[in-house]
Symmetry: C2
Subunit: 211 residues, 2 copies
DNA sequence: GACTGATGTAGAACGTGTTACAAGTCTAGA
DNA sequence: TCTAGACTTGTAACACGTTCTACATCAGTC
């Protein structure tokens, strides 16, 4: 973490496979291997265990290649988080969320994801801390995560996979719920809240906001 | 940041002056110099500029001494943040917050602090990112910051310096407002929101929560 | 097939957070 | 005053994120 620069990073021309799509099949494959290795290492030992040399070795790419794909450890971890979140978005697109009220549906979605995260505390610690530590240069990946979260909550709010129009107020509420959820996760990751507190704090926020 | 361990840190007996009070006069003086140096360096160059060797040099203590007082860079920065926040608490204890409604008073307090932070973007970047990156071992310092924030908002809510009883619901609201504020600050620090967005997002949250 | 530029590899090197250590200094109590 | 122990200093060493360099490989073009 010696120099996670605050300045925007220079792109040395078209980076080969920073985007999930594009690049040759071999490149998409390498990207996948790198993210898989990241998740594996993070799940085993958390943020500190995701060492760039170890990721490169496990993904069977050279260190330089790893850096060509992901310009920093933070980019790497946030990209991994983005990939995980994409799964929720995909799922929420397929079928309607169970629950009779917006409150129930939102809690259902967030609790499902929360519990999944809590099953892998080390992984969560790595991903959440990277997300929180990210600086300006990671704006793109961060935004991707934010969009996924917003989409999922928005769908849960309306109960249907199609987005529908989201009012200004709804958008504000969704943003606040996201903030509370992330804060709670951070608190949980760092041992300041237990699993139950997390669900409770989100529940209270949702209740206060949707009344 | 090579090894911000997730494990709780061993205390090698009574640390000399980790607490703001206690220790000899010379020790309190050293602690003050260290935190002053931290703030100065952070204000000039942000998180990356707060280099432990530089802090030690500017504070005129040995590197080992710096680490004896603050066991990591994160502890150092979060302690600096805690000291800054204490000032707000002290101020809020002296006089009533201006404003006719809880909404106005809370916005007054938070906006005042927000603008103060925005005047020193580098410093804010350093402090906020350290706060967000903090792990379990920093629980004490983090809690100190959280308590200050809660106290200030709570006083603003009621309009008087005396705490009064805070209901369960009020406490929940205060926590949510804190979460939103911190999230907004992070977004601002990393360039994902501008100054106006920060105030607006807090305003919306306060309005939704206090209605 | 040979050339060329982009991509990948292996490994050294650098910077900064952190730890370790030997020696000096200060303080409390005999 | 003297001594034991805690504290401080100065400096070296180590770990890991990041950068750099020299060379190999591969895809597309002639």
């Amino acid at each position: 973490m010696t120099s996670v620069s605050t300045e925007p990073r220079e792109t040395d021309g078209p980076t080969p496979a920073t985007a999930p799509t594009g690049g040759s099949a071999a490149q998409r494959e390498r990207r996948r291997r790198i993210l898989d290795a990241t998740i594996t290492l993070a799940a085993e030992g958390g943020f500190d265990a995701v060492q760039m040399r170890a990721v490169a070795e496990q993904a069977e790419v050279a260190l330089g290649t790893l850096y060509r794909y992901f310009p920093s450890k933070i980019h790497l971890l946030v990209s991994a988080l983005a990939r995980e979140f994409t799964k929720d978005v995909d799922r929420s697109a397929i079928r309607a969320t169970p629950g009779d009220t917006a409150h129930e549906r939102i809690m259902y979605v967030l609790n499902r994801r929360t519990r999944a995260l809590q099953k892998q505390p080390k992984l969560t610690e790595a991903l959440v801390r990277a997300f929180m530590f990210a600086d300006q240069s990671v704006t793109g990946e961060i935004h991707e995560v934010g969009t996924s979260l917003t989409t999922v909550i928005s769908r849960a709010m309306h109960g249907t996979p199609d987005h529908g129009e989201v009012t200004e107020e709804e958008a504000a509420i969704i943003r606040i719920i996201s903030d509370v959820w992330l804060s709670a996760l951070i608190s949980w990751v760092t041992g300041r809240m237990d699993a139950e507190d997390v669900e409770k704090s989100i529940d209270v926020a949702v209740r206060l906001l949707l009344r």
